[in-house]
Structures are given as C-alpha cells and as structure tokens.
Symmetry: C2
Subunit: 151 residues, 2 copies
C-alpha cells in the first residue's frame, strides 16, 4: 500500500512541469480542455463526497482509486487558463484570474496539495481521515471559486 | 528515468480496477464523463502526433509528459459506456458496443496497452521509437472507431 502511494506521488510529481509544455491551437481548445479536465476530476471527487456525506456507503478501495484519479486530474486544467479566455456566464473564470495570477496559481496549488493529501488519506483506508481530507479539499475548491469564478 | 517509468506503470496498474467502482447517477453523466476523458486524452495524444508528423519540433520532455497523461487517461473513459448510451450522431458509440462487448473491451485494452508502450517509448526519449509507438496507438484507436463508432 505504501509503495503504491509513493509511486503515485512520484507519478504526480512528474506532471508538475506540464503547464509549460501545454500548447493549444486555439483559445477555445484551451477552454474545452480545462472544462473536460475539471469535469473528470469533479466526477471522481464527487464520488468520495457521496461517501463522506453518507449518501453512499464508505468503500475504501473505491475511495482510494477515485481520490487517485482526482489528484492526478487536479494537475491538468490550469494549463488551459490561457490569456483571453475569461467569460461572463456562470462558472466561467473572471478576468481577475489573469490580473491576480499569483493568487490564482497559489489557490490552484493549494487545491492540488489538498487533493494529494486526500489521495494519501484514502490509500490509508480510514473513513474519518478521508472525511477530514475531503472537507479540506472542498474548502480549497470553494475558496478559489468564491473569488475567481462567475457566480 | 527508469524509476519514474516503473512508478507510472504501477500507478496505472492501480487504475485497472476502476471501471467496476464507477458509478453514474444518470446515463447522461456517464456520456459526459467518457467524452471529457477522451477529450483530455486526445489533446495530449494529439500533441505527440504533431511532433511525429513534423508539425511541431520533437521535444522529448513534452512527449514524455503528454504520453504519460494520455496513458493515464486511456484507462478512464470505458467506465462511461453504461447500458443505454449508444447514439446516432457522428462520433457516438453504435449499439454493437453492447452486443459485441467482448470485442469492444478487447479493442479498448489494445489501445490502452499501445498507449502504455507509447508512454514507455516517450520516457526513453528516442524520436523514432516514439513515432513507431504513436503509429501503433493511432492504429488501435482507428481499429475501434471503424467498427464501433458512428461515422
């Protein structure tokens, strides 16, 4: 179990350099990409949410694999926040993403870190620890959404 | 480099059990999920395609990280092929996905295997090997599309 966790963390680490390598032919491609990546992340994260809120029974193996995917996915969408892709409809990024980029990047990193901690907790298999880590991660999501996302 | 590759392969291995753990509240959620996962995979795979076709310069580090993500993503979409989600518009899965499920699963596995080989080749950093592995992977994609996807 521990060896697997180390492997996942190493694998995630190699992704840290991804945004610089990212290339989109058109701004719309970047928008589609980040939406798709967030969507996949949210689907897996949401399954853990269902468990910790009691809507679904706690399943340690399912929590672990879903958290692993969510943590992997959390590294991807930010490459898609290329210049000129703010929006006005609900859920779009506000222009301040680009004028307050350092704060945005910090908020993104915070979410990725919490997601990695959630993956570690889920590998451990303790439902209480998963619940606590899920709450911290959800808080990191909300923190960024409240400031940077069109309500 | 070799240690990283082992780490990635181990990480990918833990995902093999994902489909069984997958749950979607509605069939539409499953469709959205598989489309999003394929979209992210295709974006990363396409960047390697641009390199091997000469549209972009070969960048070993970028090829490696893109192939790593594509290989990870290749494990995800199939959980979204739940019953009753065939379609008639271009790009949708034909009903034979469900009546010929063993062949579909075999084709999916073939693509995933080729994608993992591409990730291994890309880690190695040899452009010719990346090109060959890319071709094999693209062939596995096409093989499945030709039979199971609405043209």
């Amino acid at each position: 179990m521990k060896r697997q966790l180390v492997a996942v963390v190493v694998a995630l680490g190699t992704l840290a350099s991804l945004p610089a390598a990212a290339q989109f032919q058109k701004p719309e491609d970047a928008v589609k990409y980040r939406k798709a990546a967030f969507q996949v992340m949210a689907m897996h994260f949401g399954r853990i949410g269902a468990m910790v809120s009691g809507k679904a029974p706690f399943d340690a193996a399912a929590a672990a694999s879903n958290a692993e995917v969510a943590a992997f996915m959390s590294k991807l969408p930010y490459a898609g926040f290329v210049d000129g892709t703010s929006g006005t409809e609900k859920g779009s990024p506000k222009p301040i993403v680009w004028t307050e980029r350092a704060k945005f990047d910090e908020d993104a990193k915070k979410m990725q870190d919490e997601m990695a901690k959630l993956a570690a907790a889920a590998k451990g298999g303790n439902a209480d620890q998963v619940k606590a880590a899920f709450g911290n991660t959800a808080g990191a999501c909300k923190n960024c959404h409240d400031h940077f996302r069109v309500q």
